[in-house]
Chain length 351, copies 2
Amino acid sequence: MSRMTVTLSDVAREAGVSLATASRAINGSANRTVRPELREKVLAAAQRLKYSPDANAQAMARGRTTALGLIVHDIADPYFSTIASGVTAAAERAGLVVTLASTDRDPERELAFVDLMQRQRARAIIVAGGRSDDAEANAALTEALAEYRSRGGGAAVIGQALLGVDTVTIENEASTSELASRLHALGYRRFAILAGPEGHLTARARLTGFRDGLAAHGVSIADEDVVHCAFTRDGGFEGMQELLSRGRVRPGGARDGHVDAVFAVNDVMAVGAMAAARTAGVTVPDDVGIAGFDDIITLRDITPSLTTIRLPLADIGSLVTELALSPAKPEPRVVPVDGEVIVRDSTPRRD
Amino acid sequence: MSRMTVTLSDVAREAGVSLATASRAINGSANRTVRPELREKVLAAAQRLKYSPDANAQAMARGRTTALGLIVHDIADPYFSTIASGVTAAAERAGLVVTLASTDRDPERELAFVDLMQRQRARAIIVAGGRSDDAEANAALTEALAEYRSRGGGAAVIGQALLGVDTVTIENEASTSELASRLHALGYRRFAILAGPEGHLTARARLTGFRDGLAAHGVSIADEDVVHCAFTRDGGFEGMQELLSRGRVRPGGARDGHVDAVFAVNDVMAVGAMAAARTAGVTVPDDVGIAGFDDIITLRDITPSLTTIRLPLADIGSLVTELALSPAKPEPRVVPVDGEVIVRDSTPRRD
DNA sequence: TTGTAGGCGTTATCAA
DNA sequence: TTGATAACGCCTACAA
């Protein structure tokens, strides 16, 4: 092994120029002024020495880094990984590098990561994933982000606009309301909802919107038909089991008073619910219709195909990145994104 | 806004100690020797000033960073996102931060990212995702990684052991061979394979293993029943369409000479194939059996449930991270990981 | 135990 | 157009 590290000084010496000139030749500084002849010499020397600029040193000298922090609840979840793909794409376009944190829904780890990004002097932080109604956790994160922004960092969030920063919101209520109308128009009358965790704001909005949508048609949902459960596949599975054991959903189809359609507040829950139904000998959609939310790509081919609400997740990822990177306004911006109701085979027309 | 940035010097001054003492008090340097009394004073000052150490400056002064680079083909693909979750977990354990690149299978972007990580002086680089047989691209990446390692970086790969670095290999041939045997034992006799791209080494290994496994039972696969296609859901869909249009798979079940089971070299392809079959009025598994590879979690609930080969993807992610971080050996290590054949409803026993 | 001072690799300011 | 040289923020021998 030769010298541990080749520095710009080495290149300068090799090229027979000053450090300053070498620097200018290589990065083409603002007032680009290096005689082509010298520039060639420097570039050649750099190549010969396999010079690789130290990004940390550059960041330090320039006073700005090239990092972008992304916080997700769980990168293995297709919802988040699709958003992440949009974020990485937008970041690459902006010449930035994405630093990823998968926090497993732990507020403390979210805070820790914001702090970490602060220390890395990351250009911006993106927080994906619905908030809970844990006021303390939200306040802490709000403050951490405010502190981060007061030091010049950008920040943007996907979900609820309650962290005091630019936010891409999902039109949860409007789209679930629309979904409810569509299902009603298809002839469904008795609904149950796998509603997610009680404190989960996104879940709550979807529940509310769905209920409101039905109310507009004079249909209400009994409390016993709203089952709270985890926001995951297993949550959907267990929630449906609960409905089954309560006799709200039954094999052989809905009859007087039984549920004829189940709305799960996200796709993976809907899939879990379908599995539970299957296990119990309940046929979807013959015995009961099922709808979800998100339109996860990997799940587009399940049978029966799932009625759901499509979210442009990758676009949302790009959008939130651009928000986080654009110069901050005095007032946080809120960019709403629509969901599109997609009716598929899991909720056929009822007679 | 007060001073743009509060530095360690500010803290030192505020606490009435020297820069060195402040540094030692805050990070607890090697020979931790700071009177508790002073340490308290420094910590208090830091808190008062909301001091946040500059990770870049620290990295520079210490001569080592805290970054780990992860290269995947497509983070939205559940295969890669699950691996990524294992990588982030292991990285967090090691006190590192993961920098993510989603290269869309573009060799040039892979190279560019290795170079980028080199400049960031990342501690290690992990490359996930099967190689193609593009000798030129592989050689270029091999060289880039070698260069990176010669400068002290760690590197490890998931897939084929042909990049000259530590590798976690998947026992593609052994497991597909085993799968073939199991299917044969279930009574399947005429197979087709959705084989992925011709140059894709992982796809090729799975094809080979499957063929070999069948050969051991005296069964061979006609060339016309091996369909090359993209390594994606759409590839599986189109491949199956091809089999259908060739009349190799038909509605109403297999009869003399028709295919009674289709092996897709990964799960998302298998799902695409099932969709194509469904579209053509071919019932799975009644008319034809289908098997995949990977056991993607999100797909565990599809109907009929998919016979596949389970890979511990998250564990593989952690494992490859540990490899990349462990001190380099003169010879690259190769750690093989077994797949476990899981027979489900998509390939029931044939009479 | 604490402080002084040099160094990490670049960029940027200011003369020349 | 080029070249010294001072930052950038922190760590760490070395000295006191």
